[in-house]
């Protein structure tokens, strides 16, 4: 049994062949993702709301799947929010996009942004100490300096813990 660089365990007492599939995609983003990403470049989290049921979607797409209507007006939410769920990733995982093993540990969290109480944004937290992580803790998006922003989700470096008066 050998363990490959990507974590796959292979029983080499049996005969096998290796064939790489290295695909590169040029994904068109369309109006909704483009608006969302360009908002990030300006330091804003822009999402929209269903004109029928009023729910928000992050990231925003063209329709509300529940109501089957086109999504409505854009609005800016955050940058502060409340942690809804979190998880410290400690097991190294092969990321086919890098490609390679992603460095661990890192903390991911679902955050309810101020202004959109019915949905979470999925991102990373600065805090990596499990004892300091709590559901309900307040956090804030930390954006990269304006010049370094590209218009990607990584324009938000992470969410950092903030203390607010009760």
């Amino acid at each position: 049994m050998i363990e490959r660089a990507d974590g796959l365990r292979v029983d080499d007492s049996y005969y096998y062949i290796t064939i790489p599939l290295h695909l590169e995609y040029k994904w068109a983003q369309g109006h909704y993702f483009e608006t969302f990403l360009k908002g990030l470049k300006q330091g804003k989290i822009l999402i929209n709301q269903c004109p029928s049921c009023g729910r928000h979607q992050i990231p925003p797409i063209n329709v509300c799947g529940r109501c089957h209507v086109e999504m409505g007006e854009w609005k800016e939410v955050g940058p502060r929010g409340t942690v809804f769920a979190f998880n410290i990733v400690v097991d190294p995982v092969y990321d086919s996009g890098i490609p390679g093993m992603r460095e661990v540990p890192y903390t991911v969290a679902h955050i309810i942004l101020d202004g959109a109480p019915d949905v979470t944004i999925y991102h990373e937290l600065e805090e990596q100490d499990l004892s300091k992580l709590k559901v309900g803790m307040r956090v804030e998006a930390v954006f990269k300096p304006e010049k370094e922003r590209e218009g990607l989700l990584s324009d938000i470096i992470y969410f950092r813990t903030v203390t607010e008066p009760e």
Partner: protein
């Protein structure tokens, strides 16, 4: 810190480039293991025969598609054969094993009833033709896969 392996390839409209890189490992199974071992170690071709349908399959496989019978009867076939069809591929592709132009061919080896797909070599591409008699040329260092056959060259 979130790192996204995405590249902006067009601003307006926004197009992002990303990758899916997966290296697949395929266990070849007992039939292909035997075929590749014979090819690698002895430079010999073995097909597999369906007694029911009277067909000698090349390359060998475990099931006869026609009668769904299990195949177990190994038959040695010659490294020489006849080109059934061929094409000269000019365009580049990341999956090509050698530089273009590539002459792909279906070769029916003597003693087999079905054709093996491979490449032709030692021949001017334009001089390849269907019906041409060819012979397998092996790689010096063989690893036990289909590319152990370097190509088929014209039989002179």
């Amino acid at each position: 810190m979130l790192k996204l392996p995405l590249k902006i390839v067009n601003e307006d409209p926004l197009v992002l480039q990303g990758k899916i890189y997966l290296d697949y490992a395929y266990y070849v199974g007992p039939i292909a293991t035997r075929f590749f071992t014979d090819l690698r170690d002895r430079g010999k071709f073995f097909g597999i025969r369906c007694g029911e349908c009277g067909i000698t399959y090349m390359p060998p496989r475990g099931t006869c598609g026609r009668c769904f019978g299990k195949l177990e009867e190994w038959v040695e076939v010659a490294p020489q054969g006849t080109v059934i069809s061929h094409t000269i591929t000019y365009y580049p592709s990341v999956c090509h094993p050698v530089k273009e132009p590539i002459v792909y061919a279906i070769v029916k080896l003597d003693g087999a009833d079905t054709g093996l797909i491979h490449m032709l070599g030692d021949v001017e591409p334009s001089e390849a033709y269907s019906g041409m008699r060819v012979e397998a040329v092996f790689k010096e260092k063989r690893e036990g896969n289909i590319l152990d056959i370097k190509y088929f060259k014209p039989l002179r």
